[in-house]
Symmetry: C2
Subunit: 180 residues, 2 copies
């Protein structure tokens, strides 16, 4: 079993946040096949929760969709940075928030083939609010809503960003099981 084998790979295109590669793979039937894949830098998604189970999300304009999207605070992990450090940095930069307690609630793979992107989902609590420092081109509005309401917006389809959906549904499960 497990006879698939990457024989060789070459870099085709490199952008700031991802790289395209062509991989030559030996299949179990001994044939060779070339696959094109995208490797994106790891990302983090942050779920700041108050002790009364209010969740902070953000609303921001996304060029890709041509409209504002309600989603979790998120960003890329820089080189030589841990995912936790990236989560703390993004929460501070995007919404000017600090948290005393952090917990990685999930590590997800966005896709299983073609695109490789690992995302680390963090619960942040014991929150303090300061002043945000977003990138040029970011126009971020902080949105505070009960976790229950966030779940309703996932179920209605209003919230449709994958990592945001997962974080909210996981927190809902933890809350129902008295682990939150």
């Amino acid at each position: 079993m497990d006879k698939w084998k990457v024989i060789s790979q070459k870099s085709i295109y490199k952008a700031r946040f991802f790289e395209v590669k062509e991989q030559e793979v030996l299949l179990p039937n001994n044939k060779k096949h070339v696959y094109s894949i995208v490797e994106r830098r790891p990302t983090v998604n942050i779920f700041p929760l108050t002790n009364t189970h209010n969740l902070y999300l953000i609303s921001q304009y996304r060029v890709m969709f041509g409209k504002r999207i309600l989603e979790a605070v998120a960003g890329h992990v820089d080189e030589n940075e841990t995912s936790l450090a990236a989560a703390k940095r993004e929460l501070r930069e995007e919404v000017g928030m600090w948290a005393s307690h952090w917990e990685e609630i999930s590590r997800i793979e966005k896709s299983a083939s073609v695109i490789k992107e690992t995302s680390h989902l963090f619960l942040a609590y014991d929150l303090e609010k300061g002043i945000a420092n977003p990138d040029a081109g970011e126009d971020i509005q902080l949105v505070k809503l009960p976790l229950k309401e966030a779940v309703a917006r996932v179920m209605s389809g209003e919230i449709n960003n994958s990592a945001t959906m997962i974080g909210i549904l996981l927190l809902d499960n933890l809350k129902r099981n008295k682990k939150l």
Copy 2:
């Protein structure tokens, strides 16, 4: 508001399942910025459920992770094919299964920037089992498990594929709310 504007874009690289583009965007501060993005073909994820709430997942070797992964039946939507037709085709090809009833339970965006991938999540029920016809290089094992057990495997981190996690957690929510 909403002053971001895509001024121009050019195709950089085209693979079977995705295309890389460079987009020149006008920011609200009137500066121009070039973003590299990946547009992947839409995908489908299928959740076949029995009337006693057993879910069918698959286990298959994924080159990207160098091991077998437990995930939902999934695939790309072909050109000139609807997402529902793609879902029916993938369920038939990958595990030799037919369903009389289909419902799109969610349409998710895997990412909010850099990579564009829409995925359609389908619930399939009233199932019939025939003979599978997988692609060369696919080695698929069908796994039947109670929905409750699938939720437990999401919570433990064993199931970490984003669309698979979302489908399972949505079905769990629908079941608890007597909508399933």
